[in-house]
Symmetry: C2
Subunit: 375 residues, 2 copies
């Protein structure tokens, strides 16, 4: 049986081109993980998600525990079978979303007690229960249960929260046990405080994990502050394990983070934007709702090979978006996920070729040109 492992194949500056091996398949890094919150990447069939080039999906513990329930998914054969995705799945711990989505939550040393936003039922999430849920789901990469304060927060709150998360990381590690072929990732916290990030990284490394996430960013601090943190945070984490920047991000966030040594990403942006008529392209964002596309026979991006760009005009995308047709979400989500995976492939190729800086320059230059000129 393949065990979980990570190999670095090439480096360019701080950036790494690697591969994560799991019993369910390989994950080429830097990797972008589409988000499949409720056992579906919204508006996509799993085969189409794979066609975009995704090696791994992310599932949300918080949503799945509430509906349809982790025990139910386990009885039905696990999340992979339930949602028809046989490649790797990473699940978050529920820690972030229980704090942002649930009602009447109460945080203690033990964990978080809360009411479901779906039906008001009461639940308790602890490091032990989060590990159990992620095991029931059949997750390939399990995340430690952590607590993440919204930014800005004062230093005292950030230190206190980070140390609680480190105690929970220890409990997560103990509860996870030894599960060959499955990985447990620790999550660095510490807000924008370099010394706290360092303390967190040391605490995690001393426990020992299969990979390390950078948590607590992309929560409102802005790209400049995030990049300032990423100038030191990845380097505080072990070099020989994958580094995952949770919940990030926009295409330029990803390029900047890869240049700073990050290997894995997830974000709802490509799928969520697709449902609101926003296409993400090499030239930046294009809002298909805008009336200027009404008569435009050109594809969204003439060089893109996705079904949306090879088969439809901007005029069609505008029409179905304005008409509220489901195919609008289907096509734009497909395009956006395709674009993200193409960007990741470009980043991987550039690292292998040792040309990452030139790649990033080209990336920014095309976006500065903006959308294609009108007909």
């Amino acid at each position: 049986m393949t065990r979980f492992s990570y190999s670095i194949l090439a480096r360019d500056g701080l950036a790494r081109r690697g591969v994560i091996s799991t019993p369910r398949g390989e994950i080429r890094t830097p990797a972008f993980m589409p988000v499949g919150t409720a056992a579906t990447v919204k508006a996509m069939l799993p085969g189409s998600v794979r066609e975009t080039g995704a090696d791994i999906l992310l599932g949300n513990t918080y949503h799945l525990m509430l509906r349809p329930g982790a025990e139910r998914i386990a009885r039905l054969g696990g999340l992979h079978r339930f949602m028809d995705w046989d490649r790797p799945i990473l699940t978050d711990s529920g820690g972030f979303q229980v704090m942002s989505l649930s009602e009447l939550r109460k945080l203690t040393e033990e964990g978080v007690r809360f009411r479901s936003h779906v039906d008001g039922s009461e639940h308790m999430l602890t490091p032990e229960r989060s590990m159990e849920i992620q095991r029931l789901l059949g997750s390939d990469i399990v995340m430690c249960f952590d607590e993440c304060p919204a930014l800005p927060a004062d230093r005292e709150r950030i230190v206190e929260s980070m140390r609680l998360s480190m105690r929970w990381a220890r409990r997560s590690r103990d509860a996870f046990g030894d599960r060959p072929g499955h990985a447990l990732f620790g999550i660095q916290q510490g807000g924008l405080e370099e010394d706290m990030r360092g303390e967190s990284a040391e605490a995690l490394a001393s426990i020992g994990f299969d990979g390390y996430a950078i948590g607590g960013l992309a929560v409102g601090e802005g790209q400049e502050a995030m990049f300032a943190c990423l100038d030191y945070a990845p380097g505080q984490l072990p070099d020989d394990k994958p580094r995952y920047l949770m919940g990030v991000g926009k295409p330029d966030d990803i390029v900047g983070a890869v240049q700073r040594g990050v290997d894995m990403f997830d974000c709802v942006l490509p799928s969520r934007s697709g449902r609101t008529g926003q296409a993400l392209t090499r030239f930046g964002a294009v809002n298909l709702k805008n009336a200027r596309h009404r008569d435009d026979p050109r594809p969204l991006d003439p060089e893109c090979t996705c079904p949306c760009c090879t088969r439809y005009s901007r005029a069609y995308l505008h029409h179905v978006m304005r008409s509220g047709e489901i195919i609008s979400s289907m096509l734009l989500t497909w395009h956006n996920l395709h674009y993200y995976q193409e960007l990741m492939q470009g980043l991987r190729d550039a690292i292998e070729a040792g040309t990452l800086d030139a790649f990033a320059e080209g990336f920014h230059a095309r976006r500065a040109e903006g959308d294609m000129a009108p007909v």
Copy 2:
């Protein structure tokens, strides 16, 4: 260039197994046409619609003329290219929907003046304008502009309306002109009055069309009354041309109508039901919203070969339906359209084999058994 033609390959009782040839491909009859109202079969990509076995789609003149507009679609290369469907398209005339959907409509000998339900703009539909719009769309099978009274209606209203529709049929024929490779279908009216249906059929035959539709049914009269009308109406129409029962119907409507000599059908039921969680199966309708499916690991129909049935459990379909996920509409619409096309294939095979009555008996017997037994 292939001209439009219709050949009857086999008969079984009143039923006919045929083929309609067009420059854009063949249509095997009896045929079911999925409805692509606003230039999309809702929740489906065109390639998937074709995979279900559909030879032809229906487009709605009323919707398309208002948004995005027939002239715009023509400038963009026609409806086939606009919506990425290169096989035949039949368009209705707008006559039925202008009476059911528009606002402030005024009916005269000339046509119907109305306000758009989309933006309140004023429009006029006449036989001549309907022919022009359907030509701009690039429709392969064009329908005459007609008027269709809701049932029940008194005989006087039905007679008056039918005779107006026959005058409009003449004007439609004149306006359509000679368009090799494109067909114009007349529409029989006359409500549930056998003599009026006969008068309408004679009027149409004397004008001469490439096919004949039975209009004004499935408007609230019930299956018994509809079948009573179908006991004579198809036989009043020319034998050597396709007969199309507009807006029908449920699977058992279709079986009964094929037995009575109808060749073509369209209905929003399979796609609309799919979006509300209702699956249409060999065993009848299954409501996936029902909590009894919550833990059911079985497929919707173990013998169905569609992606919904081969890849997902009822529990999954229940979950995504209850969670309001788009994939629910995508999977159930796919299944329902697949089931409809499989039913049509079964009917075609049975007519060829001369076993239509036995096929119909088996069809009704399976539905009487109901849904599969609980686990």
